[in-house]
Symmetry: C2
Subunit: 335 residues, 2 copies
Amino acid sequence: MNITNHQYRLVQRPMGLPKRSDWNYTQETLRDPGDGEVAVQVLYLSLDPAMRGWMNEGKSYIPPVGIDEVMRAVGVGRVIESKNPALAVGDMVSGAFGVQEYAVVRAGEVTKIDTRIAPLTAFLGTLGMAGMTAYFGLLDIGKPEAGQTVVVSGAAGAVGMVVGQLAKIRGCRVVGIAGGADKCRYLTEELGFDGAVDYKNEDVKKGLRQHCPKGIDIYFDNVGGDILDDALTQIRRGARIVICGAISQYNNTTPVKGPSNYLSLLVNRASMTGMVVFDYADRFAQAVAEMAGLMASGKLKSREDVVEGIETFPETLLKLFKGENTGKLVLKVAD
Amino acid sequence: MNITNHQYRLVQRPMGLPKRSDWNYTQETLRDPGDGEVAVQVLYLSLDPAMRGWMNEGKSYIPPVGIDEVMRAVGVGRVIESKNPALAVGDMVSGAFGVQEYAVVRAGEVTKIDTRIAPLTAFLGTLGMAGMTAYFGLLDIGKPEAGQTVVVSGAAGAVGMVVGQLAKIRGCRVVGIAGGADKCRYLTEELGFDGAVDYKNEDVKKGLRQHCPKGIDIYFDNVGGDILDDALTQIRRGARIVICGAISQYNNTTPVKGPSNYLSLLVNRASMTGMVVFDYADRFAQAVAEMAGLMASGKLKSREDVVEGIETFPETLLKLFKGENTGKLVLKVAD
């Protein structure tokens, strides 16, 4: 092989919103795969709010991206050379390839994907980490029961849209919180949510009161900040709050805003529980099969917001923090 | 009967720390008990941080004390007249008598107590609501296992001292957070805690790191505020935080300080759960029997801080918020 590879490498840890100069766009010749390895051409990359956390120094559920390392990202791609009998040239695979055009990885670090069951990009969204996060966060931590009220923030995002639809399938009343009339219309008209609150143009507390007359049994939180505080005022006795993320706080240059209304947990005998999707890895295959079935039967809709060109990575990532994407944000690297 | 009764009635809702002028000290003639009722002479009253919350307007786990109503308080006393066959003159009973010298109540609203199994005041502390809170909060929500590390704040208070001792009995490493060297010495030398952190004179985060080298499995929180935030930085994977109270925040005139470090719940797949002791009422008798047995065998120590004179009520209550009591704060009303 004589392949030129481009990649984004972290050069400094961002303060606040990441900017182009926090990475270097570098070029190098792709090395040949060694024994047991494969070379993959990256086709699509998943852009996720969690990536912002990976850029910070400090202990977390995963080590930070090191300075000068290729920016971490999950992607899907095509095997172009294989030194491992488990994978053949042409196989489609997903893995943590990083923000680059090509990656050489051990075969055990990738998952072969079957594009007959769903389109390629779905494996980055509803059948990828976002969908798995929604599935296990809602079902294992939220424990929804038919008739209960489920509220999800970041509802028109990759995780939120799946949470809401899975809750509907389980017979819950579902209310989404999203920014802007278009997203809210998408939730109620396309995805069948029972209600939507437009946090950019409505009083969230009032909206929740209106759409959740009995209060909230499960609040699936992707955003933190004031919206978490508003939801806390409307929870029912025994409510479960799933802490999946806090996108409103990831670019803070001041301390994170803790939920002032957390004593509502006491009054309502409620719980707030954090989750990390990797803990459920041994059940991913089963969940993917179930969700692919739901997608095939039209019960679970998936939407991707695809932006083309790896070179746009720094600006495209910001769409997440500006709330500009509807559905799963994906960066198209090659055809 | 021709008995003069004195009581504290709420006249206004306090701003910040309650002051004497928030109540009226009133006098009236005790009414005769009607059919099914008993008249009780109050001997001791339990003073609890929760009383501050009962003075506030607004929805909570219990309605607020109304303006002009007798201030709510749990007490123990002696039946002095009975119109109910279930209770005889001379019986000792506990109940929500209010801050007054005498109360006329329905027999079903009081619990007969057996002073052969423990001293009278223990029924307001370790065998009362404080002890029940510790018992069910630690065991049902915290779910301690031998070898795990349990940290409790307000550790020298009525709830905290029981939490720590029960956790020791279950084979846990126990660290208490309390204010001042005397209280800390009491925890380690008298109650057998493995360590104590003096939040008034030490860096709490550093102290926790030192005394909990493996991190915290269970944090039983009575105080909220900065100490909750410090504890959040030291929790282990799968930790349980029991939200029992937040005494540091009850007299705020500004919004409650939410835990800025709550995203540690996510990183550590941990939970934070609120509890209200009344939910466990059907298991109180069994817990009282178990705890009385532990007290009798010397395995569970109880301490009361007894202040004499109902007229001192407004100032005595403040001892809780100034951290001046060690053990259960009790107001002695009569012999």
